[in-house]
Amino acid sequence: MSEAMPPSLYARNLSRSFGRREVVHDVSLELRRGEVLGLLGHNGAGKSTTLQMLAGALSPHAGQIEICGFDLAHQPAQAKARIGFLPETPPLYREMQVDSYLKFAAMLHRVPPAQIAGALVEIKRRCGLQDSGKKTIGTLSKGYQQRVGIAQAIIHQPQVVILDEPTAGLDPVQIRDIRTLIRELGDTHSVILSTHLLGEVESICDRVVIMHHGRIVYGDSSERMQQYGRQPGFIVTLLAAPELAELQAIAGVQQVEQLSATQFRVLHAPDSDPATVLLALAAQRGWQAKQLAPLQARLEDIFMQITENQ
């Protein structure tokens, strides 16, 4: 993920309206090579419209999109050949068999005829569709249809993979499988995915962009988002609980709250680390420290905080 490499996807000041309603306003995005970017937002935040524009299914009313250096508006054939897109509703022909559908998708994306058979076997292995080749798409379950949708998006080995809510409507096992697949994709391709599941962002995205009312309101790495607007602290369990004042006296501690007879929540300043001091004191004074867990801010809270701040 070197910064020197040119971005595989570059979008500048995208805007799009439907009638008088402006759905996407002045959105700029950059996707680096081998990166998984999560596009977060409430329903109706403009995620799908943005992704459709990036994939070339919808033209923006203003702004410019470049895929691996090719302008989507002026060199659509070259740019589109480098994109794989899974829309919110997978574009599946229900009456077709999985094999012939994937073959058709490969031919549409100009995979050389000699390589199609190989690509088909490989993609079915990656997406867990080995036994479904001869099945009619309409008879597959939702999870398998979603896999076929992902398979059609990556069968031509595109540099940029755009996935619109790839795990929507799947059961937990399927979600886990698809997330593993996306994580794998992130090693070789650049992936941009939209979701409203915060856990998904946590587990697979390198970077997060939050959209709210058609605008980008936040963009940072996934780890840093988890630190957003949160005071550092920890929860400590001391079996032989001391006085509250004793804990408060430790350098750097700003606030101590007793959660139960043995549990305390300690908040401290970002630049100090009273945990080690506390543990040392506990050993010295026999507080019987049992557990010390850093405070985990729930992504939901952070997300709400960011979107409400706007």
Partner: protein, 247 residues
């Protein structure tokens, strides 16, 4: 790329049971009509033989058969064109074609050719049925060929119009009714023109088919059909292209 899309369309037509049902029903209607015409011809054959320039079996049986199929095409083509774009838009599968590195022209021509291939099959099937007459009599191959060509051109122009109407909507039923209404209107233009030289008649595809039906390959009719198809195909390509702009 055009052929890839054309073959896919052609194959998916046969993947739906309704296509087979329609083909079966059509075959039944064709055969019924063919036998009825043949029966009538057999009855008057003795009297016809006394005439100096009597119509042969091709003219008395095959040509009217093609005339009937031309009428049936008017009802049949909208049933197939309605799916082409409207259904893809409703099922949201159009995205696959829109995001693939394929131009709008290729998509539209591919879909058009796929349907033409299917219609050609129906026409060839009729021609085969007429060829059975060769077992009992001398056939007028010229008349037969001009009829087949005329029918193909007629079907091609209907398909182009139907494809365009299909590209305007996301509801296959609306596309079918729209195409049917347009074709019916064009037919009404022909039959309501009292004067056979009326310029109004020149707008109607059915009027241009009559020459072919009588064994007359007129270049004006040929040009009409080609222009008619080309105009609607261009309109469809334009509309398909605008799909990205207006969503």
């Amino acid at each position: 790329m055009i052929l890839t899309i054309a073959f896919k369309e052609f194959r998916s037509l046969f993947a739906t049971p309704s296509t087979w049902m329609i083909l079966g029903a059509l075959q039944f209607i064709f055969a019924w009509f063919f036998l009825a015409r043949l029966d009538a011809f057999m009855q008057v054959q003795a009297q016809l033989a006394q005439l100096a320039n009597a119509p042969g079996a091709t003219q008395a049986v095959a040509a009217p058969l093609f005339g009937t199929i031309a009428m049936i095409m008017m009802l049949l083509v909208p049933v197939f064109t309605m799916r082409l774009i409207a259904e893809e838009r409703r099922n949201q599968t159009l995205t696959l074609l829109l995001t693939a590195p394929v131009s709008s022209m290729h998509v539209v021509l591919g879909k058009y050719l796929g349907l033409l291939l299917f219609l050609l099959l129906i026409i060839a099937d009729c021609a085969l049925m007429a060829l059975i007459l060769a077992a009992g009599t001398q056939l007028d191959t010229g008349l037969l060929l001009s009829n087949a060509l005329g029918l193909l051109l007629l079907a091609a122009s209907y398909a182009a119009l139907g494809l365009y109407i299909s590209s305007l909507t996301a509801q296959p039923a609306v596309a079918a009714i729209g195409a049917l209404a347009a074709l019916f209107g064009l037919w009404l233009v022909e039959i309501s023109a009292v004067d056979s030289d009326s310029t109004w008649r020149a707008f109607s595809p059915t009027a241009h088919f009559q020459g072919f039906n009588a064994g007359l390959v007129n270049s004006a009719d040929l040009v009409y059909f080609v222009l008619f198809s080309a105009v609607f195909l261009l309109l469809t390509i334009r509309r398909f292209h605008n799909n990205c702009i207006y969503g």
